[in-house]
């Protein structure tokens, strides 16, 4: 429209959800969808009860249990009392307030960021919050999706709104196209964090654009938006397109007027040509190698064909960066100069809200089919949801993985954050498809190497990290 200020995708979603505005720019934003889980809600419900308030919109609130649920046989009682208590607290809070709960025995239970999209609850142009930092995942649909803390969860439960300071905006352009199957969206986002740093997106919402993004499936876009938080960003977003619209059609909770909404989204939900970003970065996806982390934050990542860097090389003149690399190498038990492909994992974890969707498991299976996990390696697959698990089993993947010596588990967050029994022992080294390699993340003194599902699976088979571009891929017959 002539004379109208060009806006970004984020700006349009933000503007259309403002309930009230303060002089300093902070806005009270309406929340379209609130996902809740067992770990960050007990205190929020307690605040609500203490002030005799009700959940304002139970119909816009969706609950599941994922963070601390066991991934073993669900017909058995939960042995960890504190986990059982948190799960029961969520069950009773949901019952009291009429909130739909996909509980531990539901056939749609799963990691909150996996089931939201699966159920058709994650919609383009909407605002979504959850008491979990990886809520950024839902931005793959062109939603503004923010991780929040428990006090904010209480505020949203009571009011369906949230006070937010307007963020700045970053544009991340991925040009080219990935090497099919072996270089993945996980490698794209790890390469991005390696380039801009763990604080590179701080205070901003990152919009991902470019041919390598539009060429991705929704699952791939979710993997990338998921790790926006690892670059310090408040959220990640991808403008919705026909791939998005196709995904949201025909799901359990897809709105009945979906075609009218799609027509509206198609005409509005994109960044106008002259809209401004405060920062912009570009990466060529076609030149990317498979990535793997060697240190204790996701920016401490290199090509799988590289050697572990020296602290000086990593610091590149920045004394503090060198010192942090030195500390990381000591923690990880690695010598500079060691080829990445000589690193031998004790454990392999394929799971998490980053990489436990059907496409991830199908790709991992390409290097597993007909082979066996190396001696001394314990490997597990934890599907992101019961739906992923069921569809994977229909495709025969449970057999592929189990025949190869992988454990095939029930869905949940599992070893990504070490809240249940799925943890690393002290000093154990893990090739993991999760999102954080912080000290102690997967268990006290555990050592995490972040990588893609196919790279992790290949490491399980070979007994050491490998360049999956050189692996023979075995398709299902």
């Amino acid at each position: 429209m002539a004379g109208k200020r060009p806006r970004t995708l984020f700006g349009k979603v933000w503007d259309s959800h403002i309930v009230a505005k303060r002089p300093d720019g902070a806005a009270l934003i309406y929340i379209d969808r609130h996902f809740i889980h067992e770990v960050t809600t007990p205190q929020a419900f307690a605040s609500l009860h203490a002030s005799s308030r009700r959940v304002r919109r139970p119909d816009l609130t969706t609950a599941t249990v994922d963070h601390n649920v066991p991934t073993t046989d669900r017909s058995l009682p939960i042995l960890d009392n504190t986990s059982a208590t948190q799960i029961q607290a969520l069950e009773s809070n949901c019952a009291e307030h009429g909130i739909p709960l996909y509980g531990i025995h539901s056939d749609r239970q799963g990691i909150v960021h996996v089931i939201g999209p699966e159920l058709g609850l994650t919609l383009p142009g909407s605002t979504i919050v959850c008491g979990d930092s990886h809520t950024s995942t839902h931005g793959a649909f062109g939603a503004l999706a923010l991780g929040i803390g428990t006090s904010e969860v209480a505020h949203v439960l009571a009011t369906q709104t949230l006070w937010l300071e307007p963020p700045k905006e970053t544009r991340m352009v991925f040009e080219g196209a990935l090497v099919a199957h072996t270089v993945t969206p996980k490698d794209m986002v790890l390469a991005m964090i390696r380039k801009i740093g763990t604080g590179g997106g701080r205070g901003t919402v990152i919009e991902y654009t470019g041919s390598a993004i539009t060429g991705l499936s929704m699952e791939g876009r979710m993997t990338i938006c998921n790790m926006s938080i690892e670059a310090g960003a408040r959220a990640g977003m991808v403008a919705p397109d026909e791939t998005t619209f196709e995904y949201v059609r025909g799901r359990q909770h897809t709105p009945p007027d979906i075609e009218e909404q799609i027509a509206e989204w198609r005409s509005t939900l994109h960044t106008d040509p002259d809209a401004e970003f405060s920062r912009s970065h570009t990466l060529d996806a076609s030149s990317l190698a498979p990535q793997a982390s060697w240190g204790t934050d996701p920016a401490m990542t290199c090509d799988i064909t590289d050697a572990v860097p020296t602290p000086q090389d990593y610091g590149d003149g920045d004394q503090k960066k060198s010192e942090s690399a030195q500390r990381a190498l000591e923690y990880m038990g690695l010598e500079p100069g060691t080829p990445m492909q000589d690193i031998r994992p004790d454990r392999v974890f394929i799971g998490s809200c980053t990489n436990a969707r059907l496409g991830d498991l199908l790709e991992a299976a390409l290097v597993v089919r007909g082979r066996h996990v190396a001696d001394g390696v314990r490997a597990m697959v934890v599907p992101g949801s019961q739906d992923v698990k069921r569809r994977a089993e229909e495709a025969g993947l449970d057999k592929v993985f189990q025949d190869a010596g992988f454990e095939w588990r029930e869905s949940g967050c599992s070893m990504c954050l070490g809240m249940n029994d799925d943890i690393l022992g002290a000093g154990e080294r893990c090739a993991s498809t999760s999102n954080r390699n912080f000290e102690g993340r997967q268990g006290a003194r555990g050592r995490t190497h972040l990588m893609s599902p196919i790279s992790a699976a290949a490491a399980a088979i070979a007994g050491h990290f490998v360049d999956v571009r050189r692996c023979e891929l075995v398709e299902a017959v």
């Binding site: 803390g149 006070w163 604080g199 310090g232 912080f438 993340r441």
Partner: protein, 162 residues
């Protein structure tokens, strides 16, 4: 106005898994949570906090998870303010939204100069941090009204916009 002695960690990117590991997120007793605060980075944290109330750390403090257990564990360990060159957003808002402690962004020069054990005074009204031990003072970015408003109200849940 807030006054106290500093405990300083030089590291950047002190993350929430270090501040309070995932395995403790099932604990609802805040004092017990506090016993595990910062144990990933310093098992002696509690000893160091004795008689002190200000934590000074490197940039991007609190990156990672949305767990509100992190500011709770620090607050219950006696931390009244964290001073860092920058904070991860969710952690920053959690500190404020629960009115647990005050997160203060300080300049890189201030960060360099402040030494473990220094006595500091945080003056929010004047946007200043005074280093009483060294007789110097540092300008800080003004704390947004909404942030001081939420803290004054005793947390987000009690906050009502004017």
């Amino acid at each position: 106005m807030m006054k106290g002695k500093a405990v300083k960690y030089e590291q950047d990117n002190i993350d929430t898994d270090v501040i309070i590991p995932g395995t403790y997120l099932k604990i609802h007793d805040h004092d017990e949570l506090a016993r595990h605060a910062m144990e990933g980075i310093d098992p002696e944290f509690h000893k160091r906090m004795e008689g002190r109330s200000i934590l000074v750390a490197g940039k991007n403090f609190g990156c990672g998870s949305s767990r509100e257990h992190a500011p709770i564990a620090l607050s219950k360990s006696g931390v009244a303010a964290v001073l860092a060159p920058s904070f991860a957003r969710i952690f920053y808002r959690n500190c404020v939204d629960g009115a647990y402690l005050l997160p203060v962004e300080i300049g890189h020069d201030a960060f360099k100069e402040i030494t473990d054990g220094d006595e500091l005074e945080v003056d929010m009204a004047q946007s200043r941090v005074r280093n009483i031990t060294r007789g110097t003072e540092y300008e800080i970015a003004p704390i947004p009204d909404i942030i001081t408003g939420i803290i004054k109200a005793g947390g987000l849940f009690r906050y009502k916009a004017e």
